[in-house]
Symmetry: C2
Subunit: 318 residues, 2 copies
DNA sequence: GTTATTTATATAAGTACTTATGTAAATATA
DNA sequence: TATATTTACATAAGTACTTATATAAATAAC
């Protein structure tokens, strides 16, 4: 099947190239997945610039052993992406002193955790003793064939992020987050009813002051999801509502974390039952509701939301 | 110095690429050195075509795991170099059945000994146990930095060729070789005197029948060099003359092999002394003459060649 | 038995480098 | 102090791939 492997040491050059190109492509997929505008080929240069705080074209060249035009071209790409800036050396006007831009520093911070995981995975794949370089390549390619490099990395990162989700209670400083997170899915799936806008704009008035609760999911201090418990009529009955996750952070099981927290909290304060109104359009949400034990019940005619076509209930085992 | 090395596993992709490109460039230098019109990037494809005797574009593609346009483009390059031919499959008119051309087979034969040496050198560099892929790359790059890959390969091949040089005595079938080999250096360094052309065209008449000897150096049955011993006046005195090595095969110590053989032969048949006429322009030749014990003697005024400005003699220790 | 899909190959344009060459500032040379 | 050389960077064009798309023959679907 794989002719190159059959050629042993003779095919080493072509093989190194193949593995390299595979890893580059896969790393690009990882960057794309996390919406980072970066390019694996720019890694060595970007790393040098970030390490040395002020380097010239030719300094990079001697560090990397690429040709000088390759460095110039990469610098131009980094400039186009606005990740670096430069100024001319005052003593030697030919020299361009290159540093990371603000955007570059921000991107660097986003890249660091990814690089960390890449390093871990490659170490996991390659820190194994073997009797020849070819054998090491075989080991590496076997592992890459079993499961794609990008998938492995992405899953590891997601897992770590999921573990670092923090759930916090309402604070007025989160009011804007509460509005933004909810208006996003409302706008994209339905039309925003005036009552919606009122509640979302004044969560303290409509939820907290009426004895309700709002929780937020945070990753590295960034608010990425929310959910609310709102008392309705009967003192013991609460509606689970206003659940939202930022589009950029979907796929990290943030919704499930919020749901688990809400149920745990309800148990803690002794709420016997939660209900919720939703729409069958929101398949992902319904999936989570069912997964956490919500069961479909008949929708009453005077349902509070126009978009509602499903009602679910969860009896809490106190 | 080498930033990429400092980045460890994280820089693996870029590093594999760097090593691969280095090996490709160096392999190209080896092919160029031996005047073989071939390209290291074409190796995997060419090898498949030569192994399978009749393959299609898509068969190559599945064997190599490159993209299909890459295969089409390489096929076009091989066609341009006239190394392959193709014909359409009779059952499926879309399929191009590709085979090596005559020129391709000849090139393959030239390539095989080079590939053998490349394999040996890479094995020498990489068949070493180590605890990680990165460490293996370090070992390889260290060795490649010590001495260039191309130089190592070229030297090994030359050494082997030098060991396979065969010296044979005159046979009329070598007459044309004798002429061609000598006329080449005569033309490029001097003007061909009528007497030269006569002698070179009729070696049997002018050398063999007069009691002289001609030897030829052969590599794989190809005549690559020659030298003659011609009796002059005195029965015991012979002139070493008409020494020539094909330009393509210079650097393999063929001249030295011919010289050693001539001296050994002279000893065997009891010649006490050899003389030769040459030109100081021919530095490489003079170097060999001195190396094998020839000592400069005064040039007589009636020197047989116009170009002659040096006479040398070797007294043979019988 | 026509139509849709798949397969085999070709073409076009883009990318990340390369080699070759150009330009301007700095430094060495005379 | 004028001129030659070196250094720092830029530009142009080529290469060995890539992705996207086209085309024609073969096969499947209806």
């Amino acid at each position: 099947m794989d002719a190159l492997r059959g050629y042993g040491e003779l095919g080493l050059g072509s093989r190194l190239k193949r593995v390299s190109e595979y890893m580059m492509r896969e790393t690009q997929l990882v960057y794309n997945h996390f919406n980072i505008d970066f390019d694996p080929y720019l890694f060595p240069m970007f790393k040098i610039i970030s390490n040395k705080k002020g380097v010239t074209n030719s300094e990079i060249q001697t560090s990397l052993q690429f040709t000088q035009p390759a460095i110039t071209q990469s610098i131009n790409k980094l400039l186009k992406k606005e990740l670096i800036t430069y100024q001319f050396d005052e003593l030697d006007k030919r020299k361009k002193i290159i540093t990371l831009s603000n955007k570059g520093n921000k991107t660097l911070e986003k890249l660091k955790p990814i690089w960390k995981k890449i390093d871990i995975v490659i170490k996991d794949y390659t820190l194994e003793s073997s009797s020849s370089l070819i054998e090491h390549l075989n080991i590496l390619e076997n592992k890459l064939n079993t499961k794609s490099f990008s998938k492995t990395i992405i899953e590891k990162i997601k897992k770590e992020i999921a573990q670092n989700i923090e759930i916090v209670s309402f604070d007025s400083k989160y009011s804007k987050n509460f509005y933004d997170l909810n208006i996003e899915w409302l706008k994209s799936y339905f039309i925003v009813e005036p009552y919606d806008d009122n509640v979302l704009s004044n969560p303290e008035k409509y939820i907290i002051n009426k004895g309700g609760y709002i929780f937020f999911a945070k990753i590295n201090n960034e608010v990425v999801g929310t959910v609310a418990l709102m008392p309705i009529g009967n003192e013991d009955l609460f509606e689970l509502t206003k659940m939202a996750v930022s589009p950029k952070h979907r796929g990290f099981k943030i919704g499930q974390k919020l749901m688990q927290h809400t149920i745990d909290f309800s148990k803690l304060i002794g709420l016997p039952k939660l209900i919720l109104y939703s729409s069958r359009k929101l398949e992902n949400a319904i999936y989570i509701y069912r997964k956490y034990g919500f069961i479909e019940v008949p929708v009453e005619p005077n349902c509070p939301y126009l978009r509602c076509d499903i009602k679910m209930a969860l009896v809490i085992d106190l």
